[in-house]
Amino acid sequence: MFQSVGVAWLYLRVGAMNELQYRANFAVALFQSLLALVVALVVLRLVYSHTAELNGWSEPELLCVLGIQILLGGVISAAIQPNMVRLLDEIRDGKLDFALMKPYDSQLLVSVREIRIWQTVDIIAGVIVLGVAVGRLHARVGLGEWLAFVALVVLGALMIYCFWLILATGAFWIVRMDFVAELFEGVYQTGRWPISIYPDWLRYTLTFLVPIAFAITVPAEALTSRLQLGSVLASVGFAVLLVAFSRWFWRTGLRHYSGASA
């Protein structure tokens, strides 16, 4: 167990050092993140120039949702998606053999090989937006609510990771999966708005098929005094389910893998 953590840490360090060579990419990532933020704020302003509240959510409350969405988006693009995209490519090219031959848990290895440290500017941007938003909320956010929020965001990130792993594992059966990243990014944008505004069919999809509701809306509820015990329990339960399922699915997929290398 400790050894595995050590290996994961080593991989992350090497990955980070690799990225540090390309410092100009920091400016690129920063600029990209700024533009995305400007667009998001313009949309928010447009919406609230035509209405006072969106389905019961005020502007600062929606800014909270936006902050969490950006923050979690940063985690995804820094640590989750690069690993999963590499996994997809390697399954197709047969290069996964190299990872499988190492004497450590294969799921752990494929999940820690890439880290895009410059993408962490999104995490910082998300935290700043969140800070501004919380400052503008009417109700004060207590310590308990902050703790619940942090725990729920961590659970949310875990669920997104499991979801991505399930998608990537699909590549053991379906070879051409390069559309997955685009599909995921498209769907992830739904998280910018509270889940309650979507029609039923979409709301269920975004809760149980793609765990966007648990990852973004539920943590936002913790900060805006909307959180109910039921949501917390559902969140924990669903996370456990996803972890177990993605683990089982990964192992089944591996048995299906025959290597495609020359």
């Binding site: 100009a24 690129v28 969106l54 051409r176 505004i197 069919w201």
Partner: protein, 280 residues
């Protein structure tokens, strides 16, 4: 034996260009059709964007008693369902594609061909659209059943729409070609591309129907090419435009395509001189 090409007559030139375009498009259609499952997934990801906008604005319209800035819930549904159709038509060779084709040495090969490379891009993406649009139709039908759009179209609107989507395609192809050629001069063009994409997103009607924007932004959009690639074709099919606006719109599209083509021609001549081959 000497080989010399007889000077080609204008008529046969037109015929061979038409033949070239048809062949390229046919090949692109067949290629795209092979990967229809993957294309479908791309479409599904693409549909997420307008569906989100649609849901948000429908929610607001409902809370305001049925409409925002004169657009009803059915109007929003119509706008964003046609949106994806127009978005598909707007897909063309991107500046990131340019980076790739220079890095891989593809451009060097393309320079050896007898036609200007832009023809290959235009024809290839035009062919792909046939498949994308066909695949989108069932999705559009599904969205229509769920969101109940209200259309107010005449046969004239439909006819103009058919012309306008190709006008939009040409304007956007010229713009992105201009941006793409920046990669011949610098490897760090992404800041320019992203700024362009943001301006386009906000001022083209891609984000929201332009009526929802502040007045100054609408006036700004009038002076830029963006709205003729999104807002105009969408509005044509949604059916809000008078005959005069249709004529003006097609005229503006022609104007911007002309300006774009002229700039591409100029910039291409300079860029090709500057270009040095990379690749294997």
């Amino acid at each position: 034996m000497t080989l010399s090409n007889p000077p080609m007559r204008e008529e046969s030139r037109v015929r061979s260009m038409t033949d070239f375009y048809l062949t390229m498009m046919r090949t692109a259609i067949q290629t795209q059709f092979q990967y229809r499952a993957a294309t479908y997934m791309y479409l599904a990801g693409m549909v997420a964007e307008p569906v989100i906008y649609l849901v948000v604005w429908t929610t607001i319209a409902r809370s305001q008693g049925g409409q925002v800035a004169g657009i009803t819930t059915g109007g929003f549904a119509a706008y964003y369902i046609v949106w994806t159709l127009v978005r598909n038509m707007n897909i063309t060779f991107t500046p990131y594609g340019w980076e790739w084709r220079i890095r891989e040495g593809m451009l060097s090969g393309q320079l050896l061909r007898p036609l200007h490379p832009i023809h290959y891009d235009i024809a290839e993406f035009a062919g792909g659209k046939v498949i994308w649009v066909l695949l989108y139709l069932p999705i559009a039908l599904g969205l229509t059943l769920v969101f109940r759009p209200t259309f107010n179209v005449t046969p004239l609107d439909v006819a103009v729409f058919f012309v306008a989507i190709w006008g939009a395609y040409l304007i956007r192809t010229m713009s992105l070609w201009l941006l793409g050629m920046v990669t011949i001069w610098t490897t760090r063009g992404s800041a320019i591309f992203q700024t362009y994409m943001m301006a386009e997103l906000l001022l083209s009607g891609r984000l929201v129907p332009l009526q929802l924007m502040p007045t100054w932004a609408q006036s700004l959009a009038d002076w830029l090419p963006f709205k003729w690639t999104f807002f105009f074709p969408i509005e044509v099919l949604v059916g809000h435009l008078s005959a005069a606006s249709l004529v003006v719109g097609i005229g503006m599209q022609t104007l911007w395509t002309g300006i774009g083509a002229g700039l591409v021609w100029l910039f291409w001549r300079a860029s090709v001189k500057h270009y040095s081959a990379v690749g294997n």
